[in-house]
């Protein structure tokens, strides 16, 4: 039987002329009609380990090749079929028997564990990249992808000892889901969004992981505190404050804001705080409670510290579109729009929903808009799925590493956080980037806000200062940058992870 390149994978044609994707809304990206050429601009193909992908583009050896790969993992003799020698070397390198032999003869005097960990890390990166290539582009081949994923599963376990291993395992499972979804034609919305992990996981798990996440990493606090500081500064002289919160979750952001209000010295005494939380029909937030429960909790907390407070919720439509008319506004109150996205414990929200919220807000003339989102690197179209895939791998690798650096010995705690929060995010991210046709995937919401007419609002010295202090409580590798006057970006070493930015609708900054 002839081995055909599988047709059921949607033909995304990354290397063909892409007319839809743009990386920014302000710049027009020229969509070059790229050749299906390995040398063209696409650095990732150049990185393929000595594998001549031309060998997979058809031809007589294809099936033999596949079979030999499959056999190669089981046999002790390694790969022994006649095909391109470069492929031979590649598979030899990843088959444990051979490389073990190689390593042993050279490593007799070197028992440095780091070496083997690095080599394993390399193997895993090679394989993941190969799998991504096998799932996309001109050389896509489901059979090859399947084989590679099998091998990956042998090498990487979700409970593995190293970050790279666990990360690779989670990515492998996500890739497998892509493969399965493509096969059955069910690559639909369900896979595109982070599975509602709160359904699949025990509440206790989620709560415990949330607590650990907050203790082990600065991400949540960074987002909340930066936004809160900006809010505080912008309502310094107001008596009534109204915050519309896009995704209130468990409500913890507002605890510290209330505390700050209660203890503010300048300006009027403690302002009245009104929070409107958007609620969604359907998915209940079982672990953190419903929006109503969050409201009760916030009300009780406010009472305990003497913060005048009232809580409302505003329903989103069934497709999660925001209608500003559903909102109850009071004259004389300072309106704040708060939009937290992408934090590790959050579920993914559809772009249409977010867009409806932010654009709807514009008409309300809010005093301030606070936005926290994942910081992503715009990927050129020519890099395609593989480029996005590797960038995603880089992103989560940085996240895992940051947790490990701070808490190297608490591997179980980290594994829990990874499993509960990061793994579903990985699955969702890959599903989304696989469907590259989505136009609005690779620009940030900050850019979007700028494009629809919001103005930047300056991050104050105190806010920047606070962020640095906060990071000082955690590992050295975290850093904060101020970008473009209105944005703070939290990063791990060289990788930017989350950004917090502030906006308003007038040119004058209070």
């Amino acid at each position: 039987m002839a081995m055909m390149v599988d047709e059921t994978i949607p033909d995304f044609d990354y290397y063909g002329s892409l007319s839809t994707t743009t990386t920014t809304t302000t710049a027009t990206t020229t969509t070059s009609s790229s050749e299906n050429d390995h040398d063209h601009g696409c650095t990732w193909n150049d990185w393929s380990p000595v594998l001549d992908w031309g060998a997979f583009s058809g031809g007589d050896n294809f099936q033999d090749l596949i079979e030999s790969m499959i056999q190669g993992h089981n046999s002790t003799g390694g790969v022994n079929v006649n095909f391109h020698p470069s492929v031979n070397y590649f598979w030899k390198s990843i088959s444990s028997e051979d490389s073990a032999g190689l390593i042993e003869e050279d490593y007799l005097e070197d028992s440095n564990n780091n070496q083997s960990a690095d080599i394993n890390g390399l193997k895993l990166v090679h394989l993941l990249m190969a799998a991504a290539e096998a799932l996309s582009g001109v050389n896509k081949s489901r059979e090859l992808a399947r084989v590679i994923l099998v091998r990956l599963k042998e090498l990487a376990s979700p409970n593995g000892a190293t970050n790279m291993e666990r990360l690779a395992a989670h990515f492998t499972d996500a890739l497998q889901a892509l493969l399965d979804g493509a096969a059955s034609g069910t690559l639909h919305a369900k896979h595109m969004f982070s599975p509602n992990y709160k359904d699949e996981q025990h509440q206790g798990d989620v709560l415990a992981a949330f607590q650990l996440l907050q203790d082990m990493s600065p991400f949540v606090k960074f987002g909340h505190f930066t936004a809160n500081q900006a809010i505080l500064e912008s309502v310094a002289h107001d008596r009534r404050v109204h915050i519309v919160d896009y995704d209130i979750m468990e409500g913890i952001q507002w605890a510290s804001l209330m505390q700050a209000f209660v203890s503010r010295k300048d300006g009027p005494p403690t302002p009245h705080l009104r929070i409107t939380a958007l609620s969604r029909s359907g998915s209940g937030r079982r672990s953190f409670g419903t929006v109503q429960e969050t409201g009760r909790r916030l009300t009780a907390f406010a009472a305990s510290i003497g913060q005048p407070f009232s809580f409302h919720h505003c329903r989103l439509d069934s497709d999660e579109t925001f209608k500003p008319t559903n909102l109850k506004l009071v004259r004389g109150e300072a309106l704040i729009i708060n939009c937290m996205l992408h934090l590790p414990h959050f579920s993914y929200r559809a772009s249409d929903s977010v867009a409806s919220f932010l654009s709807g807000s514009k008409n309300l003339n809010p005093r301030l808009v606070t936005l926290v989102e994942e910081e992503i690197r715009p990927i050129g179209e020519e890099e395609g799925f593989v480029g996005r895939f590797m960038d995603t791998l880089h992103h989560y690798s940085a996240l895992y590493d940051s947790l490990e650096a701070g808490f190297p010995l608490q591997s179980r705690a980290r594994t829990l956080v990874e499993r509960v929060f990061l793994r579903p995010h990985i699955t969702g991210s890959l599903a989304r980037i696989y469907r590259v046709r989505e136009e609005d995937e690779r620009y940030s919401w900050g850019e979007w806000l700028g494009a629809v007419g919001f103005c930047k609002s300056n991050i104050s010295f105190a806010n920047h200062c606070q962020a640095k202090l906060l990071l000082g409580l955690f590992n050295d590798g975290y850093r904060v940058e101020e970008i473009g006057t209105n944005k703070l970006v939290l990063g791990w070493k060289s990788r930017r992870l989350f950004s917090a930015s502030i906006w308003n609708t007038t040119d004058t900054d209070l």
């Binding site: 380990p49 000595v50 390198s93 070496q115 690095d118 390399l122 909790r297 010995l409 591997s411 640095k468």
Partner: protein, 410 residues
């Protein structure tokens, strides 16, 4: 894909004892062969770094000094992309080409781009929350925003004082805000305990330690996860121990004269809380904290004590709720072992507890009820201006110090 390169004539190093492997990798013929950074290899290295960087500066100057692990892997892979895996394996076995050395080559490369910068290996290795670039940026921002440039020294001094004061304020506020969050977290956990108390899948640590029983693989996960936080030593230091840069006169010369070395810029000094010096400026008070752990931490970092036992309560609340109303002082979900840091003996008693080693033991036996003593301790701590909480303990664990006991990760 791979092609044997002709023997390189570019290897102009004086060592005659180099052999040319395939793909242009040059190894010495020492008994322990080392890789030589030949011109060619370095060019490929530059190529790798350039390719990895894009317009978005993945490889900014900062990142060259602090690459992530996966970046190192990518560079390494790119360097040897034409090599056979056998060569890769062999070369990685060669002394001198660990990722660590790749990283150090990156640093030198970065320096090569900025020849006038001082390079201190130690400081870079320790990492920087505030890099030279960003701290310069910060200073520039504050300078321009305060219009300091062009003013006279007097005004500059005043401005600096003002900034200092502001920083202290921010610090104080940050502490309060974190506590408020902790307090709120407590309410979440309390509620969860109540609602989940009777359910089988209640997986909070309280239940686990009571030995309610395994409901599946999840509970060991969580109990293990929380157990892990019980083992490290608790080294306390007063929050006030932060090195506010006001303690350093030299650091008051913020802008022009900062050498821009990784450690010596003033904001570094301020922000870098682990930058221990002889000056311990407490908030307005100039006495060193009795809990100073400047000498006690492996990397010199001063962990914090946060006010309040909010954190303790929040962690212990699960037990409290589960075990009854008398336990609000219990906080032993997280067993705590103490290292014997003599300076901290007065504090060590505070959290004395027996480690929870086996789940079959009754939880009560292990719970400590040091309430009277603890109250006394807390008030004495407060009197001295120091306060404590498990949050500080958690933070101090990033030093990676661990006492024996506790579970090892699998």
């Amino acid at each position: 894909m791979f092609h044997a390169k002709k023997p390189s004539t570019m290897n102009s190093h004086d060592r005659p004892m180099c052999v040319q492997g395939d793909s242009g990798l040059v190894l010495t013929t020492d008994p322990k062969p080392r890789l030589r950074w030949t011109v060619e290899l370095h060019e490929r290295f530059v190529d790798a770094v350039t390719q990895l960087g894009g317009p978005d500066s993945m490889f900014s100057i900062y990142s060259l000094a602090n690459p992530t692990y996966i970046e190192l892997l990518m560079i390494h892979q790119y360097l040897f992309r034409e090599a056979t895996p056998k060569t890769i394996m062999r070369v990685m076995g060669v002394k001198g080409l660990t990722l660590y050395h790749l990283k150090s080559h990156l640093q030198k490369f970065r320096l090569g781009k900025q020849p006038h910068k001082e390079f201190n290996d130690h400081s870079v290795k320790d990492g920087d929350r505030v890099t030279a670039a960003t701290s310069l940026e910060l200073q520039r921002n504050s300078a321009s925003s305060s219009g300091m440039i062009g003013r006279n020294m007097n005004e500059m001094q005043m401005e600096v004082q003002r900034r200092l004061h502001e920083q202290l304020e921010v610090q104080r506020h940050l502490q309060l805000r974190i506590e408020a969050q902790g307090k709120y977290m407590q309410t979440i956990l309390e509620k969860a305990c109540q609602t989940l108390g009777g359910e089988e899948n209640m997986a909070l640590p309280a239940r686990t330690f009571k030995g309610i029983g395994n409901q599946g693989g999840l509970i060991p996960d969580i109990s293990a996860a929380f157990k892990e936080f019980g083992t490290p030593p608790l080294s306390f230091s007063s929050f006030q121990d932060l090195n506010i840069c006001g303690g350093h006169d030299q650091q008051l010369e913020l802008h022009a004269q900062s050498s821009m070395g990784e450690r010596s810029s003033s904001f570094d000094g301020f922000m870098n809380l682990g930058n221990t010096t002889d000056h311990n400026l407490t908030l307005g008070k100039k006495r060193p904290s009795p809990y100073s752990s400047n000498g006690g931490n492996s990397n010199g970092k001063s962990p914090f004590m946060w006010s309040d036992d909010f954190r303790l309560q929040e962690l212990g609340v699960a037990t409290a709720a589960a075990l009854g109303p008398n336990n609000e002082d219990d906080h032993q979900i997280i067993q705590m072992e103490r290292s014997c840091n003599p300076e901290l003996d007065s504090v060590s008693d505070l959290y004395e507890s027996k480690p929870i080693l086996q789940e079959e033991k009754k939880c009560d036996a292990k719970l400590e009820r040091p309430s009277p003593r603890r109250a006394a301790q807390i008030s004495s701590l407060s009197a001295q201006g120091g306060r404590s909480s498990v949050f500080g303990e958690l933070l101090s664990w990033q030093d990676g110090k661990v006492t024996d006991g506790g579970e090892r990760p699998e």
